[in-house]
Amino acid sequence: MNLYEYQAKEIFKKYGIPVPEEELARNPEEAERIAQRIGKVVVKAQVLVGGRGKAGGIKLAETPEDARKKAEEILGMEIKGIPVRKVLVSEACTIKSEAYMGVVVDRKEKKPCVMVSPEGGVDIEEVARKSPEKIFKLHPDPVYGLLPHQARELCFKLYEDPKLAQEASSILLKLYKVFVETDASLAEINPLALTDKGLIALDAKIVVDDNALFRHPDIEEKREIEPGEEKEIKAKEHGLSYIKLTGNIGCVVNGAGLAMATMDMIKHFGGEPANFLDIGGSSSPEKVRAAMEILLSDENVKVVWFNIFGGITRCDDVAQGMVQALREMDVKVPVVVRLTGTNEDKGRKILEDSNLPVYPVASMEEGAKKAIELGGK
């Protein structure tokens, strides 16, 4: 789960990481009121995609009236297709220099990785590509965590002034604490700005491990469903994993790897998948029905293809769900069905006996071709 900048900064504040004076606004009037209190401000679009600065989603405002005007502009815009619905009105700081601090999960080392760089304010991946020598990192022991001397070692590479280096290492230790205690897979300050008031986290990013949300109900509560995300959330409630794409072939698959391979195969033969959908291991008829509902609410979908390789998933369960869904719902698009694996004979028989208009296919390749033929391109 990605947190918004303002949410991440709320957490930072709780942990004693210095952040600018700021407040969230959902309309221009609110922005004006906040600016009246703070003074000169930066109005920042709150969206979960990168590159908002380049897209014009961050604007300086000299006066409260100006803040209202800028908020009005930003609140109306779309950034990478996502409408901006809230802005952070944040104290404008005089910046002397910008650094980077981050903690991520290093999959290769199987440990956390703490990184700092004097090149802040830009995409850290960019720095990694262009000047990797400007990134300093180490891997703390996951059991003992980041030790103070390790934090100092990194931060003395950031600032020559020992007082600043100490200040930075105290912030880095707090950031590590945030990483651990929010079960983050990424916690980042970019930039960490040196201002006339000392070091301040001007921007913040936290990605929380979805698998750990069960122990962070307070974070789960912060979730704000974005337009377009409703279906993904509904899917999740039914134990399905769904991601909308732009094509017209809806697919229902068991298993994430097979679901990806299914999308790839549709594309390989010249079609366009409408979605990624993994119905997971155990598939009750209810789940299959929920999957159909989600797919068919996408008006781009012109054909539905079930690609099931039964393991834990039993083909008869899927067939039953399909029959139930097709009988109760008004399904106007053709349905292609590939059932292989556990209880495939039972599954096929259920479909045959139902006399429903489905197109059975014997293999994944045949399924892809049939779906493309029926769904058009």
Binding site: D209, N211, G255, G257, F276, G281
Partner: protein, 289 residues
């Protein structure tokens, strides 16, 4: 023969009284696996499909000489179950459980590494040496004894590939699903090493997917060690959008890293042929063997 599991494998099933645990304990036993005991704390003394249940793994090991564990315990209790297996002297732990927090797994992996315990998974279908032993949830009947080692980050996609291998007469020495999470115990490289030293394995099929750099690392390993056996790869997720988690917790393209193109390129640079669709895999195998 095969690797990691075989005729000498003696399995304890942790979480055996649960829905999945009891179902798959019975399937493994039917397959011919020596399932010697089960563990569910508080349910010691019961039986599941004729398998005795104990309160602790330690007891199961002492009474039945179990050397391998398979874990069906729910995510929030699974790390403790893994620690328990390691402390009881189990040397191979297969964790089927999906949804274990990443920070927990980093500690678990370190604990096991320090004790020389091997972990397969988590979030995996398990491992099978056809005709000998199945420690997992895969449909046993599609696997056939043979000479191809299979290693995969996915479950059902493995079945799909194995099915096509079977159609063309390729059996498997061992097939391992290593898991779809960001932090896993056994990686592609570890399996490649095991297959290299296994006299029965003549070729390896590697099934990867987007996210992380394990495939790139495997490609580099193959190149640097002049890997002595042919490897055929398949990468799922060529059409996956960036920034979205594709079902598996580990299947996400982040910051432009972890794309299928990069992985395919890495393999091709290492001289590994990459199939574009699963049914191409046996055809390529025929060419290289």
């Amino acid at each position: 023969m095969g690797v990691l599991v075989g005729k000498d494998t003696r399995v304890v099933v942790q979480g055996i009284t649960g829905r999945d645990g009891s179902f798959h304990a019975a399937r493994m036993k039917e397959y011919g696996t020596q399932v010697v005991a089960g563990v569910t704390p508080g349910k010691g003394g019961q039986e599941v499909s004729g398998i005795p249940v104990y309160n602790t793994v330690k007891e199961a090991v002492e009474r039945h000489d179990a050397n391998t564990s398979i874990i069906f315990v729910p995510a929030r209790f699974a790390p403790d179950a893994i620690y328990e297996a390691a402390d009881a002297g189990i040397k191979l732990i297969v964790t089927i459980t999906e949804g274990i927090p990443v920070l927990d797994m980093m500690k678990v992996v370190k604990y096991l590494d320090e004790r020389g315990v091997r972990l397969i998974g988590p979030n995996c279908p398990g491992i099978i040496t056809p005709g000998e032993c199945k420690v997992g949830i895969m449909p046993g009947h599609i696997f056939k004894k043979g000479k191809v080692g299979v290693v995969s980050r996915s479950g059902t996609l493995t079945y799909e590939v194995v099915y096509h291998l079977g159609v063309h007469g390729f059996g498997q020495s061992t097939a391992a699903g290593i898991g779809g999470d960001p932090i896993i115990g056994t990686k592609f490289i570890d399996m490649l090493e095991l297959f290299r030293d296994d006299p029965e394995t003549e070729a390896v099929v590697l099934i990867g997917e987007i996210g992380g750099t394990d495939e790139e690392d495997a490609a580099e390993y193959i190149k640097n060690t002049s890997y002595p056996k042919p490897v055929v790869a398949f990468i799922a997720g060529r059409t996956a959008p960036p920034g979205k988690r594709m079902g598996h917790a580990g299947a996400i393209i982040s910051g432009g890293k972890g794309t299928a193109e990069e992985k395919i390129k890495a393999f091709e640079n290492a001289g590994v042929k990459v199939a574009r669709i699963p049914q191409e895999i046996p055809l390529i195998l025929k060419e290289v063997l």
